[in-house]
Amino acid sequence: MTSPIAPDLTAPGRMPVKPRAGVWRRLVRRRLALLGLVIVTIVVAGAVLAPWLTGYDPNEQMFDGLTIEGSPLPPDAKFWLGTDLLGRDLLTRILYGARTSLIIGIVANGVALLIGTLVGVVAGYFRGWIGSALMRFTDLMMAFPALLLAICLAAVFEPSLWIVAMVIALVNWVQTARVIYTETSSLAEREFIDAERTIGASAPRILFRHILPHLLPTIIVWGTLGISTTVLLEATLSFLGIGVQPPTASWGNIIFENQTYFQAAPWLVFFPGAAILALALAFNLIGDALRDILDPTQRGRA
């Protein structure tokens, strides 16, 4: 189209004056979302400020941290959350462990979500070989024993947090991709997508501007659920020698090392478990609120 739009059509329309209230502002206005934000802030602050918040070294095995028989101590005035099987202060370990677990729960999980969403959306939208190839690749990745891959990577690389994050991302995107794929293939058949095609919207535009927003609820659900699973998965991987090695603490590790003791020393499982739960729930609260805020049909909800 070359002819310029005629002036008659551009008779200046009244410009809307009302600014769009920021997502952030609407978020903090919700009580539950605010609670979520507060929890996340506390966790992050705890991780960052750990050295100033506790007088103990996370790895110091204290003599008075164990009974004569070698049992850990329950919470008391000295060790607020008790000690672990090596006589270390549990609170300190949970605070320091947050560093690892936050990276895994947020970064690794986030990357997995990103890859999964991308693959799922692209595969679900494009008919023909691209979609088919992507999904078969996903199937392959899913069918392939992740644990084995982890063990091999452990053998090849120096164990480190970033390797673990990579492995988790590599392993976890698959499920997201599958779910997103199914949903996208249904969305792609909706009429408004046809309408987008007729105005010449490019595939990326349709995918990211029109299909993605509809997937948001699913993405939020998977993202928040992924937090707990990845944090726990990290422990399994550490156990296999990939990832943080003892004595470095992570929430998953603390649980994993002590889970057989949950009757003898319940605090060793309960507190780190509660930390994971709190983090996941906090993100869920935020996600839920976000989902409402970003969903126009929910406008007017009190």
């Binding site: 059509l9 329309g13 095609r197 105005i199 010449g200 927003p213 406008r299």
Partner: protein
């Protein structure tokens, strides 16, 4: 359900009390928006007597649908709620009922037909299922009896192959067929009160006539009271006992049909009546452009177009039947020309539109701007496609519900890199005003609009790119007459200025006559007659064309037809067994380019 059957008897006893079936007093409906509450229905009072037909007409967005939903207690959650007033059905105040009691009333005593056919049917359930379940819910019929009743209901709304349609899914039906399924669903239960929100907008005139007839039958036999929401003054004239005219959420006039038509009191009513298109009024509007059409550079040319849909059946889902939706259609559209495509619901009009827009696979040739689409690469095809824009039949389904409408309308401009950000929103605002929306509605989302407003958004969107060809699939049928008139003027204006061509799909013969240069009449996937508007309207040769023209309701209660001639023959269908192809019609020129199918 025996309770349902028992209630029917009470319903029959209702006239004894002689009071109105439905009594609404001081009803107000508010919606919560970003900036607080807003009343969309204000202080509305009305009564509905037994066996009466009340038409609610009025401006699009005036609160007609909201009123209907309020009666059903189905206002959109969480935004809308009844802020004042009371609704009584017989002796019961609907507001007092809990959900459970309300449930017994819905469908059984008050049924409703919704405005949007596509989104109102469950996409994952076969239409058979959706039909029979409401029958089963309210009657004590057995499964097979319910099925039988469902088939009858489908036949009643003249859906072909009713039995096998039961297995089909909503997306496999044409817009009109979906709407008829909705109607069948509501009618099957023979409710006391039927609320029909624009029930015939998507229907071609012949089916519309039959459906209206059906409503009347129902009324005669069961004393059903009907609230008919429509913008079609023809339908109002034909059906209504009383009329309510609404604007801005308020009732502006109420009265007997004959009185309203003869002596409208409110200015708005007069305006509305004046805007009603009438057959014959379009003659002489413009000169026929036969001479111009001879220019070689057609905007679009369609040659021998075929579109078929495979239907799956059997255990392995093998293809066993095929819908011959479009069978060898050829036509061309010159710049500056409007070709109207008319025909019965399900005859393949939308499918042709979709083929042109590249949304369904086809065989044959589509040439746009001199370039044959099938020979082009992806990018080129996209470039060519830009010149073809489409307005879909179902406005709600074709707007991304998560985008603000302002952004939706701006999107084509953005995609094609036209205009800067500021300029864009100015243009969008201008477009909004042109289609009768206000600029601050740009900030709203599709679900916050009335059906007609949504359609205007779609029109604005199609206009944004100023294409060479606009395919308008029932684009103005959902609009009230005044807006419709404005939009039609806009379309014409654009055509004059930029030489836009239209493929105008409509069932409204009056509108067609008003806007089109040439008209093609389709029947079962094929064109049976094609010629200039004058040729067609003044000299319809094919019997089907004649029927179409006769079926148009006239906006004059005085000329009410006593009874619309119902067709008794088998309802035709374009579904065939594999290997069977429908006979090809041969068009012959009866003079001046007026093509008519031979043998008729």
């Amino acid at each position: 359900m025996t309770a349902g059957a028992g209630k029917k008897r009470t319903g029959a006893a209702a006239p004894v009390t002689a009071g109105p079936v439905l009594d609404i007093a001081g009803l107000s409906v508010s919606v919560r928006g970003e900036d607080g509450e807003r009343e969309v229905v204000s202080d509305l009072s009305l009564t509905l007597a037994r066996g009466e037909t009340l038409c609610i007409a009025g401006e699009s967005g005036s609160g007609k649908s909201m009123t209907a939903l309020a009666i059903m207690q189905l206002l959109p959650q969480p935004a809308a709620h009844i802020s004042a007033g009371r609704i009584r059905l017989g002796d019961t105040d609907l507001a007092d009922l809990d959900d459970r009691q309300m449930r017994r009333i819905r469908g059984d005593r008050i049924a409703m037909i919704f405005q949007e056919p596509m989104t109102s049917l469950n996409p994952v359930l076969s239409i058979g299922r959706q039909l029979t379940e409401s029958i089963e819910a309210h009657t004590s019929l057995s499964q097979s009896e319910a099925r039988q009743r469902a088939i009858e209901a489908l036949k009643a709304v003249r859906i072909s192959e009713a039995e096998s349609r039961l297995k089909q899914f909503p997306h496999e039906l044409s817009g009109g067929m979906r709407q008829r399924v909705m109607i069948a669903m509501a009618l099957a239960l023979e409710p006391d009160v039927l609320i029909a929100d624009e029930p015939t907008t998507a229907l071609d005139v012949t089916v519309q006539g039959e459906v209206l007839e059906l409503l009347r039958d129902l009324q005669r036999q069961h004393g059903t009271s009907v609230i008919l929401i429509t913008h079609d003054m023809g339908v109002v004239a034909e059906m209504a006992d009383r009329v309510i005219i609404m604007r801005h959420g308020r009732m502006v006039e109420e009265g007997k049909t004959a009185d309203i038509f003869a002596r409208p009191q409110a200015d708005y009513t007069r305006e509305l009546l004046a805007a009603v298109p009438r057959i014959g009024s379009g003659v002489g509007r413009q000169k026929s452009r036969d001479a111009e059409a001879a220019t070689p550079a057609n905007v679009a040319e369609v040659r021998d177009l075929h579109v078929r849909f495979d239907l799956h059946g059997g255990f392995f889902g093998r293809v066993n039947r095929r819908v011959h939706a479009v069978e060898g259609v050829s036509f061309s559209i010159a710049p500056n020309e409007t070709l109207a495509l008319v025909g019965e619901s399900g005859c393949g009009k939308s499918t042709i539109a979709k083929a042109l827009a590249g949304l369904v696979p086809y065989s044959g040739d589509i040439v746009i701007g001199g370039r044959n689409l099938s020979g082009l690469g992806r990018d080129e095809r996209k470039a060519v496609r830009r010149d073809v824009q489409m307005i879909f039949q179902d406005p709600y389904a074709s707007l991304d519900p998560r985008m603000r409408v302002g952004d939706l309308v701006a999107e084509p401009l953005l995609i094609h890199g036209i205009a800067s950000k500021d300029e864009r929103s100015q243009r969008v605002a201008a477009l909004f005003e042109r289609v009768g929306l206000s600029a601050d509605q740009m900030e709203l989302y599709p679900h916050e609009f009335s059906g007609g407003q949504r359609q205007r958004v779609c029109i604005a969107r199609a206009l944004a790119l100023r294409p060479k060809l606009i395919i308008a699939d029932e684009s103005v049928s959902a609009l009230d007459v005044s807006v419709q008139a404005r939009v039609l003027d806009l379309l014409k204006e654009l055509q004059r200025e930029f030489g836009v061509a239209y493929l105008f799909i409509s069932h409204d013969m009056a509108v067609v006559e008003n806007i089109s240069d040439r008209v093609a009449v389709m029947y079962l996937g094929q064109i049976v007659e094609m010629g200039t508007r004058d040729q067609l309207f003044s000299n319809p040769r094919h019997p089907y064309t004649r029927r179409l023209i006769e079926a148009v309701p006239v906006a004059d209660p005085g000329k009410r037809r006593s009874r619309f001639a119902r067709l008794d023959q088998e309802i035709p269908s374009s579904t065939r067994k594999i290997g069977e192809t429908p006979a090809r019609l041969v068009l012959s020129d009866v003079g001046g380019g007026h093509l008519v199918a031979a043998g008729s």
